[in-house]
Point group: C2
Chain length 426, copies 2
């Protein structure tokens, strides 16, 4: 972990290295994925079958899991996990229900009515990675907002393991979250299937969920044919700590993010040199007991930074520059600083709001903008699963009042047929 | 214009031809644009200067217009146009102000506080095409929602004409809408400049606005580095008419869309064969006086369809399948059908709500999802110019209550450092 005393320059250099880690999509990957998409688009299930044999080593004609498959998986999961999933789902549902926007209508003089309708998308696809990144919590975080938005059908795709099965925790979470159909197919081929539809997999309106570089590239290439969520990069945490913070907690929280990925980034900004040093000691102590120690070490070595700043203001300015996915404010009276955070996916306030609380349980979404995109992207929300449309009702009197303005504007743009459509009515 | 009596098959074939017009991005365009982006990214203004000379034939070092330039343009525009722009801007502002979402906070037992903050993006770039597609109305429709959202700085880019100047109507609209800075640079190079920043053009958080295939491709390639609005395809109108409709109005409205582009599509669905035939006669009559007659003829020839359906229900089902950008309901009691329209960018209700009313004046945005993407995309709105972030405050008692669930979920995902960050606090 790098250790830097902020002097206006050193910290910028340290952060530049961290920011540079966001990788651009590579040409070869794009070409491979383009071919897969074209293939699934033209040959449908036959192509899916070939790619599933090639990439997952599974030979099957039947991708869809039956409700019996899902129930069996659910019943095989421990009661403790099922209860935890249900309580988490309840919190997630409660938070996301507060995001629901209403359709509205307004009336103006001469009988004008204008408004905006908001309704759930018809059908949404959720990608869930297989293997070690098979996270039931991600199923909840992607499916529940869709359900709350009023999406009529939620389709989950996930790569099968070598024996053709799907992780039972994933299926239990799918059942808790209200997923409608599950297909054991993954990779770019599953994204293509959701975008264009095949004989067995229905075409969806939007594809969400994390995936490897092939999945991310496929989503990017299908954008426009379907809607997609944001392109997720490697995860990051930034902790701002004053002298009241507990180094033990800081160390644990930084490592909770570092364990995700050797490309993950963990940054501590603190006004106290003592806290900084003690946190580094604590990391050394605590990491011995952690199963992903080697990933944590690699991630902290390359993308971990501790910066000692003069003031909390300096810390906040740097944080706003970085626009981290997760921001912990481990300071006295943390709520008082909330309004000064311009860019962050999710803000964790105080000693007892560690980042994993948000990953699993508190309710806000854990799908958050990464790699500095909190500057313009937002957490996954109910908004991502609705479509809006506007409507206009005008009376003859109302149109007559606007007539000259509309004709003038249409004619100044050289669009005489637009002007004609107004004139012809009077 | 094709004329089809719906029989369950003929209309589907007619519509397939129309839907197939959405063009995929071409490989050569992508390569050209990738090179331009890389070039602007590495050489900044120097590259901009070269591309502006090459593509626009203008040799300049100074891309930014002064406020004097803008004031002079504004003063050169007729008072009639300025007043029309101002009245349109007022309606647009009024409609979009109703879209503003509030930040919110909720409290739960044990002192938990959760919430979602909503704030305007810091800096937004608006692309405005030059030449014949230089539409002041588009400046209003893109800039005003950004302004309402609380965006701090709005940057407009637009290609210069051969004499290095910018269309004064565009500049007048920019002034009315509250655009902060204007640069006379266009094409893929201007998108790259907004995405990465150059010596003179500041890096923005989001790029919106229509453009040619090079601009659209550049936006798509820069997505992720900045946010973008949707990728716009050729425009379309679909009109549903019963026997009470006026063929004169129908003809005028269909042509108002057809004049945009030989790729534009105009569709009439009607329950009355008589109305269908009279509308076609009216088109022949009215088009003679229209300046874009040849574009209208080409567009209607290739992508114009009149379909006679048995029932209004059939009309509505076809419309929902097509998901048109603009949908006119020219029927008796149009408001009663609003709830049955599943997919449409904007719905125009009744005889006196022609599509150009929405293009210029009524208030709802005219930037709408095209080519069937109303299935999942929404009109441009204030939502497009805000970012959200969530926040979580937990007390020790609150965390203790969730502790076992969080640890169970983290451990079932194999993330022991996540579990550790909870355990270390007790």
């Amino acid at each position: 972990m790098k250790f830097v005393i902020a002097d206006g320059q050193s910290e910028l250099e340290a952060l530049k290295a961290m920011q540079a880690r966001s990788t651009e999509i590579d040409d070869n990957v794009t070409k491979t994925v383009q071919k897969i998409i074209a293939d699934v688009r033209s040959r449908g299930d036959e192509a899916l079958k070939e790619y599933t044999l090639k990439f997952d080593g599974v030979n099957t004609d039947c991708f869809e899991l039956t409700s019996e498959d899902i129930d069996n998986a659910y019943n095989s999961v421990s009661g403790e996990i099922i209860s935890a999933l249900k309580r988490a789902a309840e919190n997630i549902r409660d938070f996301h229900e507060r995001q629901l926007q209403q359709s509205w209508l307004t009336t103006k003089e001469n009988g004008i009515m204008l408004g905006q309708r908001v309704r759930g998308l018809k059908r949404v696809g959720i990608y869930v990675p297989g293997g070690r990144a098979a996270y039931p919590s991600s199923v909840l975080m992607n499916a529940i907002p869709a359900k709350v938005a009023g999406v009529k059908e939620i389709i989950m795709v996930t790569p099968p393991s070598k024996d053709g099965k799907v992780n039972p925790n994933i299926l239990a979470a799918a059942k808790v979250a209200g997923v409608d159909r599950v297909f054991a197919v993954g990779g770019a081929q599953s994204v293509a299937a959701l975008a264009y539809g095949t004989q067995t997999i229905p075409k969806v309106d939007k594809i969400v969920g994390p995936g490897n570089i092939f999945v991310a590239t496929a989503k990017k290439l299908c954008f426009g044919v379907v809607d997609i969520d944001m392109i997720a990069g490697p995860s990051e945490i930034l902790v701002i700590a004053d002298e009241t913070a507990e180094p033990k907690f800081l160390a644990a929280d930084l490592m909770s993010q570092a364990e995700h990925d050797p490309m993950a980034s963990a940054i501590l900004l603190t006004t106290s040199k003592e806290i900084a040093e003690k946190t580094i000691e604590e990391i050394e102590k605590q990491k011995k007991a952690l199963s992903k120690r080697s990933i944590i070490e690699e991630s902290l070595e390359n993308f971990g930074v501790v910066i000692v700043c003069k003031t909390l203001d300096d810390c906040i300015n740097i944080a706003n520059e970085i626009a981290p996915e997760h921001l912990e404010l481990m300071v006295e009276n943390p709520m008082e600083y909330l309004g000064r955070i311009d860019n962050a996916g999710s803000v964790f306030l105080g000693k007892y709001a560690p980042e994993p609380l948000g990953d699993y349980f508190a309710g806000p979404n854990h799908v958050l903008p990464t790699s500095g995109t909190a500057r313009f992207f937002s957490p996954l929300s109910v908004d991502a699963f609705v479509k809006k449309s506007s409507f206009i009702y005008y009376t003859k009197e109302a149109l007559e009042k606007g007539r000259d303005d509309i004709v003038a504007l249409a004619e100044c743009e050289g669009l005489t047929a637009h002007a004609n459509s107004i004139k012809v009515r009077f």
